[in-house]
């Protein structure tokens, strides 16, 4: 099993958070704390998921919650690179790709949204 690990590059305005390995329910609580800390006091958080192996539903929910929090506090949560194909497929099958931007992100593209307009 390839446990989740992460790294954070902190700046004054932005933070770059990179996750690796398996993002499952075991690490969902930890991911929540990492994102909460990253958003705290910064306008933009860039999330890097290109090296993750698994993204399960509890973790997808955490990223949606982070998006919602960022939007509500006039901040930005940006998915900075393409997701691995396996993760993309999971998101697609689970209905997290939608035709329009979701309500949590206003008119900005949601990190979980591949197509921004139907």
């Amino acid at each position: 099993m390839n446990m989740m690990n992460y790294s954070v590059q902190e700046g004054t305005e932005t933070a770059d958070v990179t996750f690796r390995g398996e993002l499952t329910i075991r690490s969902a609580g930890e991911i929540r704390e990492i994102l909460r800390n990253a958003l705290d006091g910064r306008r933009t958080v860039k999330v890097h998921l290109e090296d993750i192996d698994i993204l399960d539903l509890p973790c997808i929910q955490i990223f949606c919650a982070a998006q919602k929090t960022a939007f509500a506090t006039n901040k930005q949560l940006i998915l900075d690179a393409a997701l691995p194909e396996t993760v993309t497929r999971v998101l697609e099958q689970a209905g997290f790709y939608c035709l329009k931007t979701c309500g949590h992100s206003g008119n900005n593209a949601c990190p979980m949204t591949r197509r921004t307009d139907g």
Partner: protein, 708 residues
Amino acid sequence: MNKTVDAQSEIYKEEARELLVVLEDSLLQLEGSPDDTELIGQIFRALHTIKGSGSMFGFDRIAAFTHEVETFFDRVRNREIHVSKEIIDYTLKAKDYIKLLLEAPTTDEAPCEQELETLIGYFNRLVSEHKATKTQNPSSNASTTILSTQGASLSNTPVGLLTYRIRFSPAAGIFLTGTNPLFLLEELHALGECRIIAQRNAIPSLEEINPEQCYVEWDFILTTDKGIDAIRDVFIFVEDSAETRIETIGDPVDEEGYKKVGEILVERGDIKGEDLKKALDEQRHIGDILVDKGVVARDRVVSALAEQEQIKEVREKKAREEAALSIRVAAGKLDKLVDLVGELVTVQAHLSQKANSQIDPELVVIAEEVERLTGELRDNTMSIRMVPIGSTFGRFTRLVRDLSKELGKEIVMTTEGAETELDKTVIERLSDPLVHLIRNSIDHGIELPAQRESLGKTRKGLIQLSARHVGAQVHIEITDDGAGLDGTRIREKAIEKGLIAPDIEISNRELFALIFAPGFSTAKTVSNISGRGVGMDVVRRTIDALRGQIGIESEKGIGTTITLRLPLTLAIIEGLLVEVDKDYYVLPLSSVEECIELDHTKDTGREEHRFVNLRGHPVPYIRLRERFDIAGDVPDVEQIVVTDSGGNKIGFAVDQVIGEHQTVIKTLSRVYKNADSVSGATILGDGTVALILDVSKLSQVSRSEGSI
């Protein structure tokens, strides 16, 4: 009316007739399962198409009348009016009236205006009664009524392609039970074309979220032919930790477009009717307005849009498939094709004969190849004319229902082998004889419910129609569990009519065959259904004309089975080729029982009465040489082809039996219209014409002339 309009009208009429058959069939099925939403949907769609196309092709009376019935059935579809026997009765009458309008000349006044008024009055009354009930009970809001399939059949039988709307709401603690909802989604994907929209609205902020709780629910738009049970099976293990709502939404009928986003949201219960009305007053995309107003979450709108898109795609795909799967061809063109193939078969036979008489191996190979291809072409051409008998069977459900009601009887009709295929012409001509036989079964066969009970039978009588292929024939059986034929009474009546001598002993088979004699009836009373004795001889004549035979098996008090044995096609005949002098004749193989020799050098038969001794039984025979005035002497040894015609054996004396012969039938020109005993002709490989004999007619003519 110009030719194009004529052709279009004919296409409409043809389609409308098919739809009326579907309509009647669905109504009769609905009577047995009044909650079946799929059947209700089928009925509504049939009405909708009849109306829509009628209006397009100028059948305004049909469009106007069907509109009334459709409006009424829309209420039934929305579960606002419940299906009753009375509703089925009236809708069947409406179907009959549409048929009447369809066949009536468009220039005439509307036929049976009184019937029209009665029907429209009935449907309008039910609709207005419903409206009144709705006003008293505002909670029954039509716009929020949806076609739930909760009460639908639990059958696992695959149904047609349907689209379902599924909302899956897992309990918050589902992760703690070890269930991964994403696996369920994979299973749904495997069932068919599926769109999934995750509803994320309930996901809280990072501060509030509990990572071990599920906040998402899903909307699925699934198009599948696997049936609702297959969908339920996917969710079977999460029944206690999730709520699942499954609704049937397609195959929608509105050609102008599927439901609007607002309608879908109201139907799903995501918004209220009044919210929709308010939003409609603004001139923007309805989804955007509703989201901006905070009436509905964006994901819900996205889901409704996905539903629209899926239905559109499914409909387009279906239209493409239907267009590719079948084309409508005029029957006349098919007949012409069969004629041409017949010509080709003849030319091919000629070629084969020539090739075999030449010493040219290359020519023989070519002839064999042409023979193979011609055979394939012939079989394929014939198969195009084949249609399943099911549609004909379907018509009798109504007949049984109406007649049994009229006579106070309780009858169930079952069918078997509806998929059995027969030549289109055979099926068309078979309808009337079958109607007659079924009417007889209902009127004379099946007893009244009380009488059946007193005899230890079930109250409900049974009529079974079955069809199956037996070699090159199709056997159709009409079986009832009624009173059976009364052999004694038939015998008495036959003696009274002079059909048999009082002292003659005949088998049950021969005795029962007498009911096909003209004017023969044992019925004590004549009803408007049967009993005049004018039908069974017509049945016999029609079946004879189809080169078929009828058999009867019956046991008093137990029931009767009438078997019709018919050729698969009228275009090809399996015959026995015989020769008299230099002329050739074909006898339908289905009538032939055996061939025996008639040796005049030691003949002990009664030559003057034309009888031959067949294992101790005298069998009358007709000498074709004399029948057709063929010159020349009778050979010392003749061949007698013994045939069976309606239970009677009769022989045909010929010079030589050549053998079995399968050939394409050529109809005779009008010059030969009085040649009763010949049903057609065929051309042999060397170009010689062989006449196809009508065994039944030949024996009838000979009997009436007293020559046998």
